[in-house]
């Protein structure tokens, strides 16, 4: 959003990666996009900058850009494939990074925050999705154990 192609390119090279034409095309496409794009879309639009940009390259470059924190995967509802029983009402999840256990948080205390978002962005807010990751008590206990036995 705030980054220019130059800034991105510099960061890219500074971390020891080559700035090839295909990669430049992908960055340009992402810079020009007003919404998250799928790999196939990135290839399609990217070909206006780099004639024969391959889909494989798009996948590889996205992976790299994610590692470098220059790009992020955005949650797109249709394409999320984990399912869990929901408790009635509005809830959020806290997912353990180690064992993937899920705790649901029943209350939702984001009302004020969402109001301010609406005001700042001009959007009419219709919903939100919050997921919190962490390490559950059990896994932390196990980790302590592991490190003492080593």
């Amino acid at each position: 959003m705030t980054s220019s192609l130059d800034t991105l390119a510099r960061q890219f090279r500074e971390r020891g990666h080559k700035l090839t034409q295909p990669r430049r095309a992908i960055l340009r496409t992402l810079l020009a996009a007003s919404r998250p794009l799928s790999p196939a879309e990135i290839q399609e639009y990217g070909q206006s900058y780099c004639q024969d940009l391959g889909l494989v390259t798009v996948y590889r470059t996205l992976e790299l850009l994610e590692d470098l924190d220059l790009v992020r995967a955005v949650h797109v509802a249709q394409n999320c494939h984990g399912y869990a029983l929901s408790t009635p009402g509005h809830t959020h999840h806290v997912v353990c990074e180690r064992c993937h256990a899920v705790v649901e948080i029943v209350g939702c205390e984001l009302g004020d925050f969402l109001d301010s978002v609406a005001e700042r962005t001009g959007y009419a807010i219709t919903g939100h999705w919050l997921e919190i990751s962490g390490i559950c008590a059990e896994c932390r206990a196990n980790e302590r154990q592991d490190s003492t036995t080593l």
Copy 2:
């Protein structure tokens, strides 16, 4: 989480759906799970309750259960197919439901909320993911226009 098989089954029937063996197997699997499962996993585990549970049925049943709000899709990072440039630092997205335009919210005001989550759940919070959906100013303007021209 708090629901029993009986409760789920009752809600299911009350809303005019048949409670078949495959569906029962899927509900049982979800009840027994401690983390979100993919459709393929649900099929695999569900087969211990219903010998030849088909993947198609899993997809259809999940869709139905989502409609009934008995199950929810949980964001699983690997399977999200939208990519967007990330601005440096921590941001959240507001995505327009109509045109998919994305606005990034730069500040993050969830600190206090996350602290209370940590306290309540016993998790060490390592990160969070918030996405807000809404309708952007432009799309709302278009909608008003549409309804007056009709």
